[in-house]
């Protein structure tokens, strides 16, 4: 894992001040990598859900309510929410793996944050389920898509505030902007915009966060 303890006598002082600083830097970086959730697990499952889920929505609805691909009407939204459920599970695995055997405020923060996601989506699901019955199909799709994206974006921003994570903050802002742009563009286009800009953006942000963590020295 690391070769810092290769010395035969660990009670011996580091060879030089430079060696002391190197030990400190490497040990801190190694520990931070271990205690930080893998950004790929946190971001990529969501990106995949948006790319595929919203991609299907666009293919079904197109820009004018009648898309280029024939498919059962329930498929795109069901797919989107199924993939988002998978994303919750995969993200939780990443968070729990980093937080295991750590006790204290971080664990409490993580639990409260998890509850925010659960309540947020429960309330949103119930409300939309009720309202969607009164809306035309395209508008109902827009309601589901825009409200869930809006919720995810503010939860990312809130998470960034809790852990002071700039990448997470920027991704949250990006998704919020993409979401607003999508709603302005209207049903159909909204799905295409979120699929490409939201899903693609999530992959890029996740990759950048992962690279930063891996290169920390």
């Amino acid at each position: 894992m690391n070769d810092m303890h290769a010395a035969t006598d660990e009670d011996r002082p580091p060879a030089s001040p430079a060696e002391s600083l190197r030990l400190i830097r490497e040990q801190r970086a190694h520990t931070e990598r271990s205690l930080t959730p893998d950004p790929r697990l946190v971001y990529w499952p969501w990106s995949f859900a948006w790319l595929v889920g919203f991609g299907l929505l666009f293919l079904e609805y197109g820009s004018d309510g009648d898309g280029p691909v024939e498919m059962p009407t329930w498929l795109p939204l069901t797919m989107l929410f199924a993939l988002m459920a998978v994303a919750v599970v995969v993200m939780s695995v990443g968070l729990f793996r980093a937080a295991r055997q750590v006790a204290g405020e971080s664990t409490a923060k993580g639990t409260m944050y998890g509850i925010a996601w659960a309540f947020g989506f429960a309330g949103l699901g119930l409300t939309n389920g009720y309202l969607a019955d009164f809306l035309p199909r395209a508008q109902a799709g827009l309601l589901w898509a825009a409200s869930s994206m809006g919720l995810v974006s503010v939860l990312y921003i809130a998470g960034a505030a809790i852990w002071y994570d700039r990448t997470m903050f920027l991704l949250g802002c990006w998704l919020a902007l993409v979401n607003v742009a999508g709603v302005v563009a209207g049903p159909g286009w909204q799905a295409l915009i979120i699929s490409l800009a939201g899903g693609g953006g999530g992959f890029v942000f996740g990759f950048v966060a992962w690279l930063r963590l891996a290169r920390r020295r």
Partner: protein, 108 residues
Amino acid sequence: MSVPELDPVIHAQARLRVVAALSTLPEGDRLTFPRLQEILSMTAGNLSVHLRKLEDAGYVEVTKTHHGRTPATLLRLSRRGRLAFEEYTVAVRTLLDGHPTGAEPAHD
């Protein structure tokens, strides 16, 4: 300029690594013994010895608790330990380039 004294409790490879690892934890958090052992890749016996020395110096707080029926040992740097680590870092930097460069233990 006088040569700064290096704290002998921290100025040993293994204990420096223990303190550096614990210094990354936010102040409200504690780490279990097995997780710290895994992060440091040290043997349990070796880690215990060094933790004992750090605890005797008042640098590490050791809390015994139970998760259900399993006993667990939780560890974190005490205030004094954090301060000692910061002073050590400043002293080492001073030795290295002849002048102190702030109290941040490591840059990101």
